[in-house]
Amino acid sequence: MPDATYSLARVRALGVAHVPGDRGGLESLRAAADQAGRRLVDVLGPDGKPGITLGWRIGDEPSVLDEPLSEICRQVTVSVQLMLAACLRCCWPDPAEPLYPGGAATEADVFRALDGLRSQASGPEHSEAGKGVHSSRKSALRVLRACAFLEPGAEDGRIRLGSAIALWTPSEIAELARNYDLLPSPRGGAS
């Protein structure tokens, strides 16, 4: 069990780890995760091979409004949220299909999708207008990649959904699918 605990800590530190080769190792890792109130979620590793990441047990997810969590977690800016919405739409062409792992999209498509939204200059992040829209979008992509909502930058420069998306619950994904038309589309406005 100590080995499994260390392996669990390794998965937590790495974000995504390779699936243990032997079945017993996977089972003890799953048991260790369960004991810690977590669950193992199957994802794709950066090399495209099957991997695992740590999610919260269904029903035990921390709330955004929980004070300690809001202290340790970075506050999500509007530009990052809109960028993720555009990435979701571009990498998830058919809401009837599973959201994760989805497909790949180009930065140009994602930026075009964002062009269709109302300007953020009138929103709470007024300073962004001065900073430059392009650098703000690039910065949002970096944040999303660092936080595993998007895969780390690949050689082909395309955008792919990251392991953090795999942690969303089926009901959350169903809610997204119901409101699919709200997500900014590269073809302009709601489809």
């Binding site: 969590l69 970075r74 919405a85 959350e172």
Partner: protein
């Protein structure tokens, strides 16, 4: 004595109590009569400082009485501690009886003891090395002002050299055999090794310019200053080795942290954390929040003109027919109410008007609908009585009162007008 009353001199922040007590004993050793000459009780120094503070704040040229002193020290030391030290202070001359007011039993503070307290504090804070710095300053000032002759300068240079030599040996001894805790406690006293060397070079240069015969004494001083500087480096190196091996940062002073943060290269700073495990960056962003933000930034929809209505089928307008039917029903209801009122403004229906349930219900329902219609000027009030007729066709009945109300037509309303006109015509 309460902890919060202890000044910094003997607190752990200034120095470790035991270490300072040891240093104090060594400090007084040259003039002590016996090994017990120094009090082991740290409170002794606190009482002296409290008495010193009392005199410093009193601004009383005539001195202070014992009771005034005790009252002034009460906040800092316990009365019995004060009493235990008072007579000793008087006996050793720290407190002297005021010669002018012998009958008043007033005391004045001896400035020599005041200077000693300052020295003790410096001894605690910066150790004996500070005395070397001050001695060098004195030589430099004397040389610049021309107030010292060759012999006195030579004596002072020799004294500084010996001090440096003793401190260098002390540091080397600590490096070779001292416990790590001792090194940590000592580190604050040897922060200015390089500065001391620079000061010594400057003083030797001034001395050699003014008294060329002191060149040899100056060279010996520089040799020992170099030796002291090297000892400090060796001392610091041992501290760093140990701290690096155990990842113990307690040896760094706040200012050293700041300097490291400002001047060290990023790679060196990051190296400290090469074996530290961090959680990956965390961003909590549930889809619900995402959708709410996207909704907020949806583009404004282009205004759409409503489609043209379909052409009406031939024949009468069905809406008009509905309105006509409603007006007819209202008129009929109003006429029925007028019939019940019999030209009066109020009538009481105290029994069934029809010999059947259906007829009675029609009357009641008509009255209630008319009452609810704002265009029919009547009100209906239901009684809370219940009339029971077991043998009749209507076995029970609740009396009602119908009243005619004045109606004000504020706008041109064809429906209301038709009712009023119909009422008048009926």
């Amino acid at each position: 004595m309460p902890d919060e009353c202890q000044p910094d001199l003997l607190s752990s922040a200034a120095d470790d109590r035991d270490l300072f007590a040891g240093r104090l004993s060594a400090f007084v050793a040259p003039v002590a009569q016996d090994a017990g000459a120094i009090s082991k009780d740290p409170a002794a120094l606190l009482v002296a400082e409290a008495v010193h503070a009392a005199f410093g704040d009193a601004c009383s040229p005539d001195g202070l009485t014992r009771s005034e002193l005790a009252a002034a020290c009460a906040g800092a030391v316990a009365p019995q501690v004060f009493d235990s030290r008072f007579e000793l202070f008087v006996a050793l001359g720290m407190l002297q009886r005021s010669r002018d007011k012998l009958y008043d039993h007033k005391y004045v503070f001896n400035p020599a003891s005041s200077a000693a307290l300052l020295v003790y504090e410096r001894l605690s804070d910066v150790g004996g090395v500070q005395e070397i710095v001050m001695l060098l300053d004195r030589i430099r000032d004397a040389l610049r002002q021309g107030s010292a002759d060759q012999d006195s300068v030579e004596r002072m240079l020799t004294k500084v050299r010996r001090e440096l030599s003793i401190n260098a040996d002390h540091l080397l001894h600590l490096v070779r055999s001292g416990a790590f805790d001792q090194l940590i406690a000592e580190r604050r006293h040897h922060q200015a090794g390089d500065q001391l060397l620079e000061d010594a070079r400057e003083v030797v240069k001034l001395a050699a310019e003014r008294f060329p015969r002191l060149a040899r004494a100056g060279a010996m001083l520089i040799t020992d200053a170099l030796r002291y500087s090297a000892s400090v480096n060796e001392f610091v190196a041992r501290l760093f080795d140990r701290a690096q091996a155990t990842r113990d940062f307690s040896m760094l002073l706040p200012e050293q942290y700041r300097t490291a943060a400002l001047t060290s290269p990023l790679a060196s700073l990051a190296e400290v954390f090469t074996r530290v495990v961090f959680d990956p960056p965390c961003l909590v962003l549930p889809p619900e929040q995402l959708l709410a933000t996207v909704r907020e930034y949806q583009p404004a929809l282009a205004p759409n003109r409503p489609p043209r209505p379909a052409d009406l089928p031939p024949g009468p307008d069905p809406l008009e027919l509905v309105r006509e039917r409603a007006a007819t029903a209202r008129l009929r209801r109003w006429s029925a109410m007028q019939l019940l009122l019999q030209g009066g403004s109020e009538t009481d229906l105290s029994g069934p008007l029809r010999a059947s349930w259906r007829g009675t219900v029609d009357v009641i329902v008509n009255a209630l609908i008319a009452s609810a219609d704002p265009l029919i000027p009547i009100t209906v009030e239901l009684s809370d009585e219940l009339l029971v007729d077991p043998g009749g066709p209507v076995t029970y009945f609740t009396p009602i009162t119908i009243r005619r109300e004045a109606m004000v037509i504020t706008e041109v309303d064809p429906a209301a007008e038709s009712v009023v006109k119909g009422g008048r015509g009926a």
